[in-house]
Amino acid sequence: MIASMVQSKAQRAKFLAFCLLPTMILFAVFSVYPLISGLYYSLFKWSGSGAKKTFIGLGNYARLLEDPVIPKAIGHDYFLVFFKVLGIMVLATFFAVVLTQFRIKESGFYRVVFFFPNIMSVVVIGILWTFIYNPDMGLVNSGLRAIGLDGWTRPWLGSLTWALPSIVLPAVWAGIGLFMLMIMGGISGIPASIFEAADVDGATKWEQFWKITLPLVWAQLKASIIYIVITTLNGSFVIVQIMTEGGPNNATHVMGSYLYQQAFVNYNFGYAAAIGVLILALSLATVLCLQLFLKREKIQY
């Protein structure tokens, strides 16, 4: 009787294999293999379009150190990380609090409105905003002209100064919805009695936000920040590629778009692989730093 209830060791192994094997195989094929081959190719001078490969050891890495675009691209990556985290977190938290705690009638409608950009492809968002920023026919410049601010119009994406900040806006806009929902989930998990008690004690909404809401949704905030950082470091490539292709004069290149340019426009596949390794190293280092930085006692009331 007991024997039939306890699984045999072999059965247990079979069950585990059944659960883990598909994931392991996918992981090996789509993560481990590309990772290793990326490392491997970064040691070669290879165009990526022919069979001719020359082993050059750390040559591509030496080139990384001398390439003037690399420090620029890294700077742009962290510029985007900083402003995206700031913009998305502030706005998403603000909207989440307003929609959950202020009992607005149309909160369902706003939820849809804010989440809407999340169901659009980044490619569509990029193209849409390229039109919005178009120097001649775009919404931004036409709007400025309509209200008499002609002096403020500029070729947003074509300006060495304004191109990168112009990319932040759609990136933030596209990101808010998902994190707003995550934070709303966190807030609705806080027992209403805590807020009621705070009300009785005479705490203002502002105090309630700082003392109750924020500490109790910290886990969600932390997860959101790390997620934004990782997706920005690895994924801003798409929006940059669509909107500016890294230009004008490399003013918006992020590491991902520069990697793409080196691999598929300039035919330096090996060098691009080295850039890929650099992205990996920087993402890892950043996430580790964040983990330390965001470490905070878990609070329960």
Binding site: Y33, S47, S49, G50, N134, D136, P155, N249
Partner: protein, 446 residues
């Protein structure tokens, strides 16, 4: 268990790799190769013959015609076509794995003659090309507008379609507004001044994301100023070439246009179709771009728009226009399995007959001199005009690049050109930075 797991992972990786290499859009034209006896009876050529050709704005009508004619003349061949707008990417795995198609038309995104030569993928055609002749017996090489690219004295690809960079304008709009069509740099400045003052628009627009202004504005200027020697030195990144006197002189002309406000301040935000659209909407008067403009934009051309073309007037008064071609060549793979068929096909299409068909079927000229287009009513007038212009030596000088500029040099130089055209750097700073880019290029291409 562990060993089994390893085996499974390995099997999955191999399966994944094999799946990744298999699919391309191929079409089979004939199956005759299955019967070698019949093939031998009808023609000398037999076996499978694979052609890779890019299909872009020019369409594939010319190709279909040429291939079906070739097929009719060589019934023993089994012709397989790999074609389409993404064919260069789709066929990459074949080139990487050293099993390329026999013949390749090097054109469109993702293709580069210089890179294919650097990767040692193309057959040396130097000796054989000398034996080719047109219908009337004139040697093919002396009938080319543009000489084949040369790499250490060897040629690997024969230029088939002739594209050239020049400057477009709307003939009827210019006439209506009383603007004069420029004939050299000074008259161009005069017209641009006129357009800016009377029309209130920035006269010149171009693509700010890709090296169009480098190819369409600077290079013709360099050619007019320093001839083929200079442009060859520039393309080869010879030490000192980019900061030489003639280069600075031409760059100063661009700087002058920028300072006068003749360059659209928004150009850096535009890609080539957006800049072409601005031009069609008369937001600008001139656009330096290739022959393909009318064909590419044919669906968006406003009524009454009348395309006019001149080689970009960067030259001083009294000199002929300088024209720089951008050619799309045919080449044979070094590892071709049926090189004889590939050679026969090249010989077959490099004829006046197919050069006459090309403007009609694909709106493009082939790289063959002395083709008469006047009697064909299906050919658009601007192409006839271009054909007459390029065949007139007193007005236009053709300058061939020894080979296309490598993207590793072109991109950083173009980046600096954008800064110059935005007014962020001076002509002197530009030449210094371009020279630095050339030095980096020399270092990295070793």
């Amino acid at each position: 268990m562990k060993r089994q797991l390893k085996g499974l992972v390995a099997a999955a990786i191999i399966a994944g790799l094999m799946a990744g290499c298999g699919s391309t859009g191929q079409q089979e034209t004939g199956k005759a190769a299955d019967k070698p006896a019949e093939a031998a009876a009808k023609g000398k050529l037999s076996g499978k013959f694979e052609i890779q050709y890019f299909v872009g704005g020019y369409g594939d009508k010319w190709w279909k015609q040429a291939i079906s004619d070739f097929k009719a003349a060589n019934t023993g061949l089994d012709i397989v076509e790999y074609a389409g707008p993404n064919v260069n990417t789709e066929m990459k795995t074949r080139w990487i794995s050293n099993t390329p198609p026999d013949l390749v038309y090097i054109a469109g995104a993702g293709s580069s003659e210089a890179q294919m030569v650097a990767d040692d993928q193309l057959m040396d055609l130097t000796e054989w090309a000398r034996t080719l002749k047109l219908e009337d017996g004139t040697p093919l090489l002396s009938s080319f507008f543009v000489k084949p690219g040369e790499y250490n004295g060897k040629m690997y690809a024969l230029p088939l379609v002739l594209d050239a960079w020049g400057t477009w304008y709307d003939r009827s709009w210019m006439k209506q507004n009383g603007y004069k069509v420029p004939s050299d740099f000074n008259t161009w400045l005069d017209t641009m001044k006129d357009v800016k003052e009377k029309g209130g628009i920035a006269p010149l627009v171009t693509d700010g994301k890709h090296p169009y202004p480098l190819r369409g504005l600077l290079m013709p200027g360099f050619a007019a100023e320093g001839g083929e020697k200079l442009i060859a030195d520039l393309v080869d990144a010879k030490e000192g070439a980019w900061k030489s006197e003639p280069v600075l002189k031409v760059v100063k002309k661009v700087e002058q246009m920028q300072k006068a406000g003749y360059i659209d301040p928004g150009f850096a935000a535009l890609n080539h179709t957006q800049s072409q659209m601005n031009f069609l909407l008369h937001k600008n008067a001139f656009i330096p771009v290739g022959f393909w403009l009318p064909f590419e934009m044919q669906k968006d051309v406003p009524q009454g728009f009348d395309f006019g073309f001149i080689p970009t007037p960067m030259q001083d008064p009294g000199k002929p226009f300088a024209m720089l071609p951008q050619i799309s060549p045919l080449a044979i793979a070094k590892k071709a399995k049926n090189p004889e068929a590939a050679k026969a096909f090249i010989d077959f299409v490099f004829k006046r007959k197919y050069a006459e068909l090309s403007p009609e079927l694909q709106g493009a000229m082939l790289n063959i001199k002395g083709v008469n287009l006047d009697n064909n009513p299906k050919i658009p007038p601007y192409l006839k005009e271009v054909n007459a212009l390029v065949n007139d030596k007193s007005k236009v000088t053709f300058y061939s690049l020894p080979h296309p500029m490598s993207a590793d040099l072109e991109k950083p130089v173009f980046d600096q050109l954008v800064s110059l055209m935005l007014g962020q750097i001076t002509a002197e700073e530009f030449v210094q930075r371009a020279e630095k880019a050339a030095a980096d290029f020399r270092k990295n291409s070793k």
